[in-house]
Amino acid sequence: MGIIDKVSGVHGKIMIIEDEEEVREILKLHLESAGYEVIEAEDGEKAIEKMKEGSNLLRVGLIITDIRMPKINGVEAIEYLREHAPSKPIMVVTGYPDTDLAISLMQKGVKEYLVKPVEKEKLLEKVKAVLAEEQNFDYV
């Protein structure tokens, strides 16, 4: 990430939505090692709350989420996020290698569907690619 991005804050933060601490930790380790700033949420509900905090709605440039979580699960959170923050790209990192689910989520606007255990290199490559895409701002 270049200094310009950091200053402009467009791609500033990546939000991780994942209920398992160990997994959050790994994602954070990987992402921080590549220079990204990370905010974490344990479930969809908390993610939505955090999204509304401060400048997060503006500064979060990518959302990485699991599917299975308590309270608001990933699928519901994705639907909510697509509705309320349609310009934020979403990546799913999940334990289920499920083609139908992947296709259906992609149709909902999910950019990538990665299956755990995803390797660091692949994760960072996908993150970089998604962030490099021009953000499709929907002016609602």
Binding site: D19, E20, E22, V23, E25, I26, L27, L29, H30, S33, I67, R68, M69, P70, N73, G74, V75, G95, Y96, P97, D98, D100, L101, I103, S104, L105, K108, V115, K116, P117, V118, E119, K120
Partner: protein, 375 residues
């Protein structure tokens, strides 16, 4: 051409009826005649109420809906379903307990006629001159439905799906932690961090080992564990002790009501496992606060152990599935969904049985029966 159409209509295996607006029968095909064991012409002109009162009763509300609104969605029940199954895969959490899938509205999914179960479709059979004629096509599903119900009960169908998704989820998370921390070690030079990551790897590996152990306990026993005559009271007491380890005893009351003298023949670890799992489950259901009542009694040829908690109870829609592997309503990391499944496996292995009763808000009662002599 008309003759051909009539023959086709008469001979399709689905039941087809056409009613006038007062639910009088205008037409039935051979499938209906066969079902009612009469010739089709005997029905022409007869009021449905005289032909089959129960069926008349179940159709009445549906008729009223159609009369009120000829565009009511039940007129197209089938077509909508086809569309939904062909292209409309719905993304959902694969482990979330599936809600009963019904029609979008409150119309019944199936109709019963003479003990058989049918899916149904109403259709507009009017000639177009303003007279309302309502067609009804019935497709028999009794066999499929029975099969499905039996499989769901034994946990085979939904159980297998849940099993596969459960294995994937339960294994892939710790695996991700292992590969991730290993990758972090490769990039790390600080010994403290490396050690901390190695610790995480060990923890995750143990978690996988535990899942594998649970699953293989789920498969066949190793065969080298010998059955012994075991004192049930002693087993129950030590299972309580183990279950209580994770809870605050000050917040809990354990009521014991033992009236069992006969020893039970079993592998000691397995018998203890049955009750440890049941007790831990009960304590978790109560959030560690409340009363756990354990009642043991003789049943003649065996023993019955009732485990009652004062927890939040189990919703009816989950009751048939709580013994399925990986089915859990507990939060992540609190349960693998294998506990009750293992309990049932073991109880069945000894020729016993387990039942559950529960009402939301009123706790749950698990009753285990075990024969005293399991040869």
């Amino acid at each position: 051409m008309e003759e051909l159409l009539k023959r086709i209509l008469m001979n399709v295996p689905d039941v087809i009826l056409v009613f006038d607006e007062n639910m009088g029968i205008e037409f039935v095909n051979t499938a209906f005649g066969r079902l009612m064991k009469k010739r089709t012409r005997d029905f022409f002109g007869a009021p449905l109420a005289d032909v089959d009162a129960a069926f008349h009763e179940s159709l009445t509300p549906l008729f009223q809906r159609i009369q009120k609104n000829p565009q009511d969605p039940i007129m197209r029940t089938f077509r909508e379903k086809r569309e939904a199954t062909s292209g409309g895969y719905q993304a959902r959490d694969p482990l979330a307990p599936a809600l009963a899938e019904g029609n979008a509205d409150d119309s019944p999914r199936v109709l019963t006629l003479r003990g058989d179960i049918f899916t149904y479709q109403f259709f507009d059979a009017g000639p177009g001159d303003g007279d309302l004629k309502i067609g009804l096509a019935l497709s028999k599903v009794t066999d499929e439905k029975e099969l499905l119900e039996r499989l769901t009960q034994t946990g085979s169908v939904s159980g297998l799906d849940t099993l596969a998704a459960g294995v994937a989820h339960e294994m892939n998370n710790p695996l991700f932690s292992i590969t991730g921390h290993a990758e972090a070690i490769l990039d790390e030079t600080g010994i403290d961090k490396i050690q901390a990551y190695a610790e995480k790897i060990r923890g995750s590996s143990r978690r996988i080992a535990k899942i594998v152990a649970d699953l293989s306990g789920y498969a066949r026993g190793k065969g080298n564990e010998e059955k012994k005559k075991i004192d049930l009271v002693e087993t129950l007491d030590s299972a309580v002790k183990i279950a209580l380890i994770h809870f605050d005893e000050n917040e809990l009351t354990v009521e014991r009501n033992y009236a069992v003298l006969s020893p039970v023949e079993a592998v000691p670890e397995e018998l203890q496992r049955i009750f440890t799992n049941l007790f831990e489950n009960a304590l978790q259901a109560m959030d560690g606060k409340g009363t756990l009542s354990i009642t043991a009694s003789e049943t003649g040829d065996g023993v019955q152990i009732r485990v009652q908690d004062t927890g939040s109870g189990i919703s009816r829609k989950y009751l048939s599935r709580i013994f399925n592997p990986f089915f859990t309503t507990k939060g992540q990391g609190k349960g693998t969904g294998l506990g009750l499944n293992v309990v049932r496996k073991l109880v069945k292995k000894y020729g016993g049985d387990i039942e559950v009763e529960s009402e939301p808000g009123k706790g749950a009662i698990f009753s285990v029966t075990l024969p005293c002599n399991s040869e």
